[in-house]
């Protein structure tokens, strides 16, 4: 599903990732851990196609991201969902409008969009908040809406960058549960987190990064 071959990335002359090679299979739940500046976000960005690698190759669903044309990147992204720490919702739009955006981009009909949005919101327990503006939602609700937007297209891969970073411990566990249930349905999950509770709770394969090096690939957390 995702393969990295000797990937290296520099940012303004500083090394962000060095010689990373790894393989993630379909349906896996992978947790990326490590201190701040370890290269977790860079790794996610590389897979997402936000930045190109300086060296090495990245295959996502047999597509070489390093060789992807700029015009093909949006189509590559449509096969994935991305959840961020700071939610990235459009504050003046309703929850429905926010979640429906990926479907508008894909050009789905209004009827199909309504069905899919309702399904996604139900999956994250937000179906009662469809008409609420994103700006009036609590942090937990915003993150749920953000997850609904990420899964509305039924992506094969779900990337998450510190999705619980802004949440209290109880909400953190709720969101972690949500990711677990999404993973249980077959979606590959790659989540960057340095929350130990989440790591323990998710019980997935653990990749530990430090100063741009892959320090450990521990399989299931124990």
């Amino acid at each position: 599903m995702i393969q990295l071959f000797h990937v290296t990335k520099y940012f303004e002359g500083r090394i962000a990732l060095t010689d990373i090679s790894l393989r993630i299979e379909k349906g896996e739940c992978v947790l990326l851990t490590g201190p701040s500046g370890a290269g977790k976000t860079t790794l996610l960005k590389l897979i997402f196609g936000s930045v190109p690698p300086d060296d090495g190759q990245i295959l996502v669903q047999n597509r070489n991201i390093a060789r992807l044309r700029r015009s093909d990147i949006p189509y590559h992204r449509r096969t994935m969902g991305f959840v961020l720490q700071d939610f990235k919702l459009l504050p003046h739009r309703t929850v429905f409008e926010n979640v429906a955006l990926p479907l508008i981009i894909r050009g789905l009909s209004i009827f199909e969009s309504r069905r899919k949005v309702a399904e996604a919101l139900r999956a994250v327990g937000m179906d009662h908040k469809q008409t609420a503006r994103a700006s009036v939602l609590s942090a937990g609700e915003q993150q749920r809406a953000c997850i609904a937007r990420a899964i509305v297209n039924t992506p094969i891969i779900l990337l998450a960058d510190e999705p619980t970073g802004n949440l209290d411990p109880q909400l953190t566990m709720e969101i972690a549960d949500l990711f677990k249930s999404i993973n249980a349905k077959g979606t590959t999950i790659l989540m960057a987190t340095h929350n130990r509770q989440v790591v323990e709770h998710m019980n997935g394969r653990l990749l530990r990064l430090d100063c741009g090096h892959l320090m450990a690939d521990q399989g299931v957390y124990a």
């Binding site: 992204r77 990235k88 955006l101 990926p102 508008i104 981009i105 789905l108």
Partner: protein, 298 residues
């Protein structure tokens, strides 16, 4: 259909959010297009005037004296058949004599004692209004002068040449000023759209995050630019129309130019539509200028 609705909605939201910027953008585009329109209006009227004057300009062709009636008739037909000739009036020697006597009754004594009618027969040619260039006229006259049955050709060459030169200057003036103003207008629209870009940067990032193409993100801004340009064009036509009305009324009230004031006319519809389309094109180009750099971001 849903996407179209989305694009239009986003464009209108952006216009509503950036009212001041939009207002300034529309006004400056309108000002730019009005300045350009003044030149167009001037060019259009001088060109129309030139057409009218040209139509009134007569080329007088004098056939050789003593030409047989059949040859004279054939010459008349030949002249009439030329595409630069609008109409032809044949004046016989007798008619020319009669005209002289009618126009200068006190000078008829000059003709006394002359054995024959001294006036030559002639063909008076009116030129087609679609014959603006002096070159074409000169070529036509040169052609006539080489004809074996023609004695002499008379027409006011300098006057036509000068007028054509004025039209050429106006054409170039309109073009140069148009280009300068168009660039200025594009820069202003680009600036207005850029402001909208900055304030909605996060929204664009979100759209990129969920797989929107650069085109998808840009279309609402292109619509915004086009609307801005169209509004500017519309306002410019309004300014020009009212300015033109005030100008012609003023001229008429001053009785400065006599009947000439009635010869002024506003653009025909295609010109107005061109100005409107020009506004739309400027708006789109201004937006594109802003977006090109931004589109390079992955």
């Amino acid at each position: 259909m849903r996407r179209l609705w989305y694009f239009l909605r986003e464009a209108f939201i952006s216009i509503r959010t950036h009212r001041t910027g939009t207002f300034i953008g529309v006004l400056t585009t309108a000002f730019t297009l009005t300045s350009f329109g003044v030149f167009l209006l001037l060019y259009h009227n001088v060109n129309t005037l030139l057409g009218r004057i040209q139509h009134n300009i007569q080329i007088i062709v004098y056939p050789k004296d003593g030409l047989e009636p059949a040859k004279l008739d054939a010459l008349g037909k030949l002249l009439k058949s030329d595409q630069v000739v609008d109409s032809l009036t044949s004046i016989s020697k007798q008619q020319a004599l009669e005209d002289f006597k009618q126009q200068f009754p006190q000078e008829t004594h000059l003709l006394e004692g002359l054995p024959d009618n001294p006036f030559p027969a002639s063909f008076v040619l009116s030129m087609a209004p679609t014959t603006p260039a002096t070159d074409i006229m000169t070529q036509f006259v040169n052609r006539l002068q080489q004809h074996p049955d023609i004695e002499r050709v008379r027409y006011n060459r300098d006057w036509i040449a000068r007028l054509t030169l004025v039209v050429t200057y106006l054409q170039w003036g309109a073009l140069i000023i148009g280009v300068i103003l168009a660039i200025a207008s594009m820069a202003i629209i680009a600036n207005t759209v850029q402001l909208a870009f900055y304030t909605r940067q996060e929204e664009m990032e979100i759209l990129r995050l969920i797989g929107a193409t650069s085109l998808f993100i840009s279309i609402p801004y292109l619509i915004e630019g086009a609307l801005l340009g169209a509004l500017g064009g519309g306002v410019a036509i309004g300014f020009l129309r009212s300015g033109f009305e005030v100008f012609t009324q003023k001229i008429e009230s001053l009785h400065l130019m006599g009947s000439l004031s009635t010869t002024f006319e506003f653009f025909p519809l295609p010109f107005s539509l061109t100005l409107l389309a020009g506004g739309i094109v400027l708006g789109c180009l201004g937006t594109l200028a802003t977006m090109l750099g931004w589109m390079k971001i992955r």
